[in-house]
Structures are given as C-alpha cells and as structure tokens.
Symmetry: C2
Subunit: 263 residues, 2 copies
Amino acid sequence: MNKQINTIVFIGSGNVATRLAVALQEMKKSILQVYSRSEKRAGILAKKLGVGFTSNLSNVNREADLYILSVSDNALEEIVEKLDLDTQFIVHTSGTSSMDVLNKFDSFGVFYPLQTFSTEKNISFKNIPLCIEANSAENLELLQDLAAIISEDVQQINSEQRRALHVAAVFANNFTNYMYAVAEDILQDNDLPFDLLKPLIEETAEKLKAHIPHEAQTGPARRNDQKTIEEHLKILKAHPEYQKIYQLISEQIKRKHHLNDKL
Amino acid sequence: MNKQINTIVFIGSGNVATRLAVALQEMKKSILQVYSRSEKRAGILAKKLGVGFTSNLSNVNREADLYILSVSDNALEEIVEKLDLDTQFIVHTSGTSSMDVLNKFDSFGVFYPLQTFSTEKNISFKNIPLCIEANSAENLELLQDLAAIISEDVQQINSEQRRALHVAAVFANNFTNYMYAVAEDILQDNDLPFDLLKPLIEETAEKLKAHIPHEAQTGPARRNDQKTIEEHLKILKAHPEYQKIYQLISEQIKRKHHLNDKL
C-alpha cells in the first residue's frame, strides 16, 4: 500500500484554514491540532473540529503526516522561521508566496484552493481548483491524492503561474466585489434597494458560460457613447473617487475595443 | 373591461429590442412592425418575429397601442424629433434618458428592463426588474399591466432614480465584466485557461445572497497586506494600464475599510 496523508495539523485559523479543515475532516482525515497566534481564534476552529489547539509554536504536535500553513503572506515568513520541524511534510496555502519560502524544510509544497471563503459559509470543494506544487515527485503524489479526495479539479501549477493566477483572482473576485460595493453605495444614495441589481449580477457571471469576457462586454464605454459617460460622471459628482474609477475603466474599455473593432 | 396594450411597434432592433419583442410576442402580444435605421438589422429582428419592417420613419405603422423606442441614447433625440406620431403611446427603454425627452407626445413613459442582454441568448424576464414610469396614472397602469405579463418584479422608478440605477448597473455589470477580461488576459499571458476562475466568479456573485458587498470584501487590499499588493504590481509590469487599475481600486478598498474598521 502506498504512503498517504492521514493526520494533519493546521497552522492558522482563518477562512481558508477553517473551510479546508472542515472539508478534510468530513472526508475522514484526522486533524490533530490547530495553531493560531491568537489563542481565541485557535480555540474557535479547534472547537468546531473537536480537536486540541495551541497558540505556542513550540507546542505544535510533531507527529502529523502534513502541516498546512494557512496564514497571511505577511505572517508566513516569521512562522516558517520559528516553526521547529525538520523531516515533516509542510505546505502553505498562499496564492502569492513562492513554494521556496518553505525550503528550510525537507519536504514542502503548496496546496492552494482557488476560491473565496467565508468563515461561516460552508462550501463544497468539489468544483474548486486545487493548485498543488511540491519539492519532489513523491510529495506531489501525496498532495495529488489528498487534494483528489475533496476536489475533482486538481491542478499542478508552478509558483510563477500561481502568482499570476492570484493576481487574476484579485481582479475577478476582490475588484469585482468592490464594483458591487460601489453600486450598492450609489443605490443607497437614491433610496433604492441593492436587490434590484441581483439578477443583473447573476447574469453577468452566467454569461461567461457562453462567452469570453471580451465578447460579453457591453455598456456606454463599449459603445463609445460619450454622452452617457459624461452624464454618468455628473451623477457621480458627490463621489470623486467613484468618478475616477468610472473614468479610468471606461477609457480602458474604449481603448481595448477600439483597437479590436475595425472602426 | 379595461383598456390594455395589445399591439406594439418596435423602434430599434438591438439586444434590448430583440429580447423584449421576443418575450412580449411569447405572451401573445402582437408585434406589428420593426423599424431600424439599418434595413438589414430591422429585417433580422422582423424575420425572427415573422412581422414587417421598415428603415423609413415615415412608413412606421400608425395603428399600434404602444411604440417602444429602444435605441442608443445618442440616437434617441433625433428619432424623437423625426417620429411623426401624436396621440399614440410612446415609451423608451433607456436607463439614462429622462422620461421628458418624449414630452412632445401626448402619452409617454419609460419601460426599462434592468438586465444585460445578448441578441442571441434568450432570457426569461420573470426575475428581471422592469422599471416603469409614465406621464399619467392611466398610462402607468397600462405599462404596469404590460410589464406584469412578462416580469414578477415591476418597479415604479422615477427618472432621477433610474439614472442612478443605470450608473450602478454600469459598475455591477460593465466594469465587473471588464475585471473578468483583465483576469483573462493575465491568465493567457501565463498559459492558464480562463476556466480556472469560473468557480471563483460564480461564488463571488453567489456570496451576495448572504452578505452585502461591503461585508463580502476580501483580498490583499482588504487585509491591508502591502507586501502582496507590491508583489502583484510587479507581476503586472507588462500592463501599465492594469497596474493603474490595481492601484486605484486597492487604495479605495483600503481607505473604505480602514475608515470603517476600528483600527
């Protein structure tokens, strides 16, 4: 029988750690312990899992098959420096950090789920791309097997690609969500409920099943409808910061489509 | 029996006109004719509906209960000027133009479906907010009845609110779609398929069922993770225009959440 990962320690207790720990535990993997700098937050996740926790790195259980470091990129370096393990297998879940930040260990890799997580909202990993990378073929196989028990979309992605993927995800998720927030603000100013926009938002995402984004682009900037653009900028006069975004993105849409259309 | 709208002429043959005409015809309303400046485009929609068409405003059928003007805001004024009707009931479908651009007519109003449309993709109007406005209570009732046969979400929205709603829709749809296009570009540069982002894009829209956008915000700017932000700006160095957007939106997210968090 091949070697496989059965026992896991989580270093970190944020949204990614929480959703991943819950999903792996549901598939009968044994979570041994949760570490977090914050004893309170370690305790919350540990309680959800029914396992032990610590806020002291020296007390991290040394017997696990895998250590999943799921902390902010800012904290990662410091934790790696202080984490006193040697032959154990250690991965991080960061979209941005290179795999090599873990190269002081013997066995290391990356286990990056490409999704946005909430601490509260449970989510199935089945369709979430799990991007893996490891320092050896053997370790890659271990991660492949572990990833495949929760996701049908396991991808071998190197550090450089993963970084690009993470930037793309910032545009597709964080910045998109910010556009929703701006829209909500504008509606609130006019005593209109945000619910009005929900069918539009759904269809905007839905359209991508049939069209690439470039083809799906519509709106005043796409039509080069300068009259409407100027009207909109006037309506936004109470929010100079939204005017700035409106102007910048409209210019870019115009330029992009002007270059491509045979005008 | 109350008066009701049974026969309709469409002035315009774009995405909105097409989807609206198809939906109304499916509900047994009689489309009498299609006008478009472009004979070819008038013909395409007319053929889809099995009705007559013209590209000459003087030949517009004068017997309809309702005239739906669904043309670009740029073209609207000119068409209104040239359209020789008097007592007939006339509405436009624009998000931006005031109802009053039609005030040379006796009976006028607005019939604005808040959605993004494709000429090809059929879409149910059932959940689409139909925003209506009219110059009299009687006309409003006529539009209310017509709208209600295709949509369960008929809203009385005045011209000022509708303008704001349209700006919000530009952020929620056009600019969101542009974010997807940027993401696609970044992935292409790195030989990664756009499909990788689809579960993330779906979940980003899905999250709004439980959270307002402000609460749903995540990412490096939300966490004030300057290290990652700078890393991302470096990765974008081949695309100065994307760097500019990344920087501007990140600053705004930071400012917005910094002001709100009790830091």
